[in-house]
């Protein structure tokens, strides 16, 4: 059964994350995402496979890492992980067993539960490794479990996970399907469908909007988002995430190019009253 054998791929665990749910939290980042948001600031979370992270800026170009080696772990990359004299190469993506990870997380049970905190699954897209995630959710049971998700997942999986989740942070990146597809690579229909399921479930949830200057920060989109959720009883609030000007900084490390084309200067002040108008509480994180 998958419950006992589930393994998954992580790219980070962050202790004491502050903005990932109520109370102090430990956030687990699952690797791999079906979306390709142009503003994504965690490019190492996109691929579902292990990959090399190379701090190219400090590279001496000595070529030592390109020499053949006989380490098994290096073979897929045709590059030696251990050869860099400056230690600039590391492997991104650690395969872990759900059982072991759950045990590790439960080790912080007292601290998390005493302080009203818990664990948060983020990514990448955590629901994109459903078996692993479900196993983790079950095995970490007494802990408060939250998820940060794009909502882009088949609805049965979304519903199954929801059963074991105490708190949801769902991204609504854009209400317009065409624009959504243009900037994230996927349709938003599934996301909006899952939003309805979430509203029906009664689970407390937060809607997060990453504010991308000139793309989704116009009054119209924000207001449309507010309208989508204004009747949701379990909505905690809307959290607006200001654009991260260093979003592109990690792309060269995973051999990718940051291709977002917009004018960063275009960013405009956000008027929270347009949420208030619809009875929706909103904050800027």
């Amino acid at each position: 059964m998958w419950c006992n054998m589930a393994r998954g791929l992580l790219f980070d665990i962050k202790e004491l994350s502050i903005h990932d749910g109520p109370g102090p939290r430990i956030t687990v980042f699952l690797k791999g995402c079906p979306l390709r948001c142009q503003w994504c600031h965690n490019p190492e979370g996109l691929a579902f496979e292990q990959e090399l992270m190379v701090k190219t800026a400090q590279c001496l170009h000595c070529g030592l890492c390109k020499k053949p080696c006989d380490h098994a772990e290096c073979q897929p990359f045709q590059r030696c992980l251990h050869a860099c004299p400056k230690g600039l190469i590391s492997l991104c993506g650690e395969e872990v067993d759900a059982e072991q990870l759950a045990k590790q997380l439960l080790g912080y049970r007292d601290f998390l539960m005493d302080n009203g905190g818990g664990i948060t699954f983020s990514g990448g897209e955590p629901l994109a490794q459903p078996e692993f995630l479900l196993a983790l959710l079950q095995k970490t049971k007494p802990l408060h479990r939250a998820i940060q998700t794009s909502g882009y997942v088949e609805s049965p999986i979304f519903e199954a996970a929801l059963e074991h989740i105490d708190y949801v942070m769902l991204d609504i990146k854009h209400t317009d399907n065409v624009i959504h597809k243009q900037y994230t690579g996927v349709d938003n229909a599934l996301i909006l469908k899952n939003l309805e399921l979430l509203k029906k479930s009664g689970k407390p949830f937060v809607i997060r909007i990453p504010l991308i200057p000139g793309i989704n920060d116009a009054v119209e989109n924000l207001e449309n988002t507010a309208i989508l959720i204004k009747d949701a009883k379990a909505l905690v609030r809307v959290e607006l995430l200001p654009y991260n000007p260093f979003a592109g900084s990690k792309y060269p490390m995973v051999g990718k190019k940051f291709a977002l084309k917009f004018d960063e200067q275009e960013s405009r002040p956000i008027d929270l009253s347009l949420f208030k108008k619809h009875g929706v509480e909103a904050v800027i994180l």
Partner: protein
Amino acid sequence: MTERIQTLLKNCLNKKHHALRQPMDSNLTAAFQNPKLPPVVRTSLRLKALLQAERPIVEPFQKIVLQRTITDVPGIFCEQELEEIHKAHYIHELGNVSNINPNYDKIISMGMEKLEEQVKTRLLQCQNEQDMAGELFLSSVLQSIGAVYDLCDRYRQEAMTVGNTEVAALLSRIPRQPAKSFHEALQFFRILHFTLWAEGEYHNTVGRFDQFMFPYLQRDLERNILTEEQALELLEEFFISFNLDSDLYPGVQQGDDGQSLMLGGVTREGKDAINLLSFLCLKASRELKVIDPKINLRVNKNTPLSLFEEGTLLTREGLGFPQYSNDDIVIPGLAALGYSLEDARNYTVAACWEFIIPGAGMDVCNIGALSFPKVVNAAMERYLDQCKDFEEFLGKVNQQLQQECTLMCSSFDNLYFFPAPFMSILMEGCIENARDISLGGQYNNYGIHGTGIATAADSLAAIQSLVFKEKSISAQELIGAVKADFKGYELLQQKLRLDMPKMGCDNDEVDDLAAYLLDAFAQALSGKSNERGGIYRAGTASAMFYLRHAAETPSSADGRSGGEPFGANFTPSLFVKTKGPLSVINSFTKFDLRKTINGGPLTMEFHSTLFRDGDSITKVAQLVKYFIQRGGHQFQLNAVNREAMMDAQIHPENHAQLVVRIWGWSAYFTQLDKEYQDHVIAREEYVV
């Protein structure tokens, strides 16, 4: 903050008062440098000359006065005398009494006239008993008291001249009479503290301020002669006074001036001691955002989260304090070392973190420092290739550590401190025994820091993994690589740095080795006594040794290159990427820290953006509480901003007020030497 305080603060930060300063007139030094006079007499003559040379400065709007106009405190010995003293004695640092906590309230509550009477009575006794040393000491005390009267009288005159009747009235009563109000008590403290620096002592700590000052405040509030707002205003002016002359105080770097102030904790009877004044102090420090006084907070596992939140609000200001001490660990730790339970409950900190007893401890709590990495390196070079298993090697490390401690403890022979007759009036027993505090007090223990625990434990873990478990490298090869500073062994060095178990990652394998080293250290000092009848105390601090010891230890088996510094105090190695703050806390609270209770905090740096809102303040406070609940002894966290620090190295002019914590004290970043700046930048910064 009131407008008056804003003006006082601005004047202080703009160094307006520096223009009034001048060096000591060299014609006046002969009087106290006379080689025919005993040192204690010379000390009081110097104080007299110095205070006489001081020019009273009173602004019409000031409520608390006294500031230095003479920039230096010339020595009482000539070069040749000093040379002889150094030959015959062990001299600690500059030779002056330092790093202790005087009992200010003893005199504030008694008044100096009453003290004078006591001294005169005792002096008569000495004369009858023909106790020459006692006579010299006590007449020097009287001379010093007279010099303080004279200065205060001239300040009173000046206050009248500028029309500051409030200050003039204050100085017509104190320091001769006991303080009757909070205002008088603050001014009295300022007089005593000012005089200590002028006498030549340094790292003159403030102590348990909220304890000894609260009765004055309480009385004023009850009598309705002071409101809480007025009290805060006075307190803020008083706090500013710690920053007026601090650039003239001796220290390794500016900011290392030892003006630590302790809040909270328990009474001598063990009752919860936090009071209104504790909170006012936190508030004053938060509003002023200046580096002195340095705030410390005593807590325990039952301390409410709200107090940790108050503390975190102060941390957010980026001053590097409060520093927390855990009563649950410190009190039993000190009691086990032989301090009476009442005294242990009354502990405060010395300049940085060393636990000392107000008025009673003439402990030299930073007399030496053990370098853990040096011990491991020496054992590795000498014995590693002969050891058949890791346990045998650990035994050799222990043996090396014991030898190192024995050698160190035998090096503090014939300790001599310059006399400090004025300081003596604030220390228990000195007048009664007619002996200067420099000769010893009620407690005369010596503290030994322990530097580089993580570097040493990580080195042991690497040796255990590679040489004994994996057997992928021979002892000789590892010794050779370390000796060669990893030249030609770059790949091995990377493996050592990145792939080995490290302290700070909640890995029992390596944390247990640290526990072994700490226990061995405590064991090595246990049972040893010093020539003053005191014992030795093991600690977890580094002070400046994180640079000095690192420079002496070329490279180490954890992959640290020669010249690369150790972590400051009780922290993971600088180049280690830990799993996060919880793992670091877990790693550093696995030990019985009561045994190594000389002091030395776990230090963590958090990015300043972490402290943005109330929610995050609570979460950080919960983290501090977690450390205390797990049995940590001392904790210090910093809100830092690496980008700002790096910019400050290029454009110092734009960052004059940027404050960072160095080892046990905070400083203005741009006033530090570059090596200290670089170390702060290199520390792991948690962004959460």
